[in-house]
Symmetry: C2
Subunit: 433 residues, 2 copies
Amino acid sequence: MKRLNRKPAKIGIAGLGTVGSSTARILLSKPQNATLTAVSARTKGKDRGFSEEGLVWYDDPIELAKDPDIDIFAELIGGDEGPALESVKIALANGKHVVTANKALLAKHGMALAKLAEENGVALRFEAAIAGGIPIVKALREGLKANTITRVIGILNGTCNYMLTRMGDEGMAFDECLKIAQDLGYAEADPTFDIGGFDTAHKLSLLSSLAFGHETAAESVLVEGIEAITSDDIKTAKNLGYKIKLLGIARQTENGIEQRVHPTLIPENSAIARVDGVLNAVGVEGDAVGSVMLVGPGAGGDATASAVVGDIFDITYGDETPVYGFAQQEMTPYEAAKAVSHEGGFYISISVKDETGVFAAIAQEMAEKNISLKSIMQNKNDNTVVNNDSGLQKIVLITHNCIESTLTEAISNLSKHAFIVGNPQVIRIENLS
Amino acid sequence: MKRLNRKPAKIGIAGLGTVGSSTARILLSKPQNATLTAVSARTKGKDRGFSEEGLVWYDDPIELAKDPDIDIFAELIGGDEGPALESVKIALANGKHVVTANKALLAKHGMALAKLAEENGVALRFEAAIAGGIPIVKALREGLKANTITRVIGILNGTCNYMLTRMGDEGMAFDECLKIAQDLGYAEADPTFDIGGFDTAHKLSLLSSLAFGHETAAESVLVEGIEAITSDDIKTAKNLGYKIKLLGIARQTENGIEQRVHPTLIPENSAIARVDGVLNAVGVEGDAVGSVMLVGPGAGGDATASAVVGDIFDITYGDETPVYGFAQQEMTPYEAAKAVSHEGGFYISISVKDETGVFAAIAQEMAEKNISLKSIMQNKNDNTVVNNDSGLQKIVLITHNCIESTLTEAISNLSKHAFIVGNPQVIRIENLS
């Protein structure tokens, strides 16, 4: 790999938004072995908390990526095509190390870019792309490398975690909570990418590659967002000893790697259940280490820049760890576990007409499919529309481990009964040690 | 630094106890770019879960350290002098990279050994010396390197955390709990090193050097153990919204670095308060990242070996990060903050004769020293010897932030009152965001 020989490395930053500006400020105030020499952004002369004086300015990030005077190119533009992709390709092809915070870019083009980096003997680092300031990429790629990883579980989207926390704490409705999150700047005007689980899926696909050494396959992640979760679900789950979190889960199963993003019931006394608000967390299970968890800020300019600059300093020390911790030619194609094979318990909330024999009929349908129940109860929460609408009741089931496809059949059979109103709410339960 | 040029590195392990044997098993089953070729221990031919066949055997670790065929020397003997120290010195002087899990050795000789490593252009890695399988050394040395660290807080001793957890959960007496911990193998026959806080102090002194770049000064750590903590204290603290943990705390203050190990009251809803049982945790606060926490197993053969092998794999990738993340010549002598300068609240439990005017007298003594009280209450716990002994009551004070030396004076004045029985129990409170 290209070595920097202890001369201060020259850094170029493309993109001076929140993260880019924070990165520039940190590099200028803590030069260590890395010197910021050039930047690129759309508008020159804006107040970004640092002086542009003495820095070479480029309007076009492609030109910065070609600058023969730059050793490390920091791509902080964003987007999975266009200038971000082009400039990273050109930087790598020109023998520059690249640091990026761009999860969308990597989820889509990570493999090709890693190959390009390896061919050119340069580093491609992306600590900032997953869980902001938490050094989880380094932990998986290096610190826990002695382990055969069995599962990675992450709270990877602060918007969702913030909303689920407040909905649970305050019994707030989803739409009301989303509005507040938007007002506070925790959610975008178009929140689909966050609350639909797609942001989590991008990050999870990278974690899965780091953990299991397979090619990134973001499009293969099973994705369900939090849109259908009500504060009533959260309250009911709490009464049963669970919290609801949007988790990204990558797991080694007998027949392949599972990659799933969905709202999940987890025991409320588990460590990851206690990670609330905008915080992120990633738990890693490995054969030697058992279980470790990292918790911290998943977003924010300074926290994300902490990861970007950590990567930059790292490169100056000549670390030749491969991009994903596995040499590119050793990375295997992603082989998805069959989606139907997921085993785990389920939370099922069913609106029913208040008739006698409903419990018995529900229990019977589950028994027909050999699904054993941990509990079946009338939901005692009194603050839901359904319960206030006289004549309707909500029944909540918790199942023991069962095959997802079998459960789907049972639910389908159940839905044929005339006492069922609407679609049952089904939320997966994840077993945590 | 000496580069291994992608040839598989040859590893020698000195010491085949629990960690050494686990390390050997992992290296033999997951060779990657590192091949175990030689071992050293007292007794050959014991069943250690791997075959010694094909490995060069040394009775004397010094001879292993001299073996010209070894690239990386793993010191897993233990002890801060004798064969551990000698073999590490010889290995470094002979141009071998060294990996160790030996916190006592590093707390005493870390600076000299780091210098020796740097002079010989080799690595000295010690992830396993602090918090077992948790990759906190790498996080501080590399991942969070962009930060100016302001505080490191750790639960670093599983024995103490296990005991405090069980005493709290079950109202168990200290001696009874220690006996159980010993029976379970969580505590040594002579538990002084663990429960006296010395093990935590060794680890804290290394964390402090990694965080702040000063020379390791384990002897300067303020150390108080958990011997005086009663389940009654834990219960009272819980009623006030706190947990009691043995914490190692290294903090940047205005007049130097504080290094303290002592039982500490922390808000029970803080993340680190929720780390129970034998688990370890380290929280790091930095100017860019804010706050991150790593949680995991602090001991155990496989978990510790996970860290040892992670270091070994790392070295094979040629990372030239300095031993403590700072070049040796840049590390500054340790300048202790004045012990008296610690600001923080205090928990004070006082046994008093049941007389009128006691509250007023106590409050008056505190007011005299300008110590403001958050609460003063009669301890309502009914399961303590003191309370059962008629005529005695326990009064518990919680102070706001105050200077420790001022508090000591107030306590001294208070003790002159005839209604005070025995010595007040004083436990520091740590402010956590």
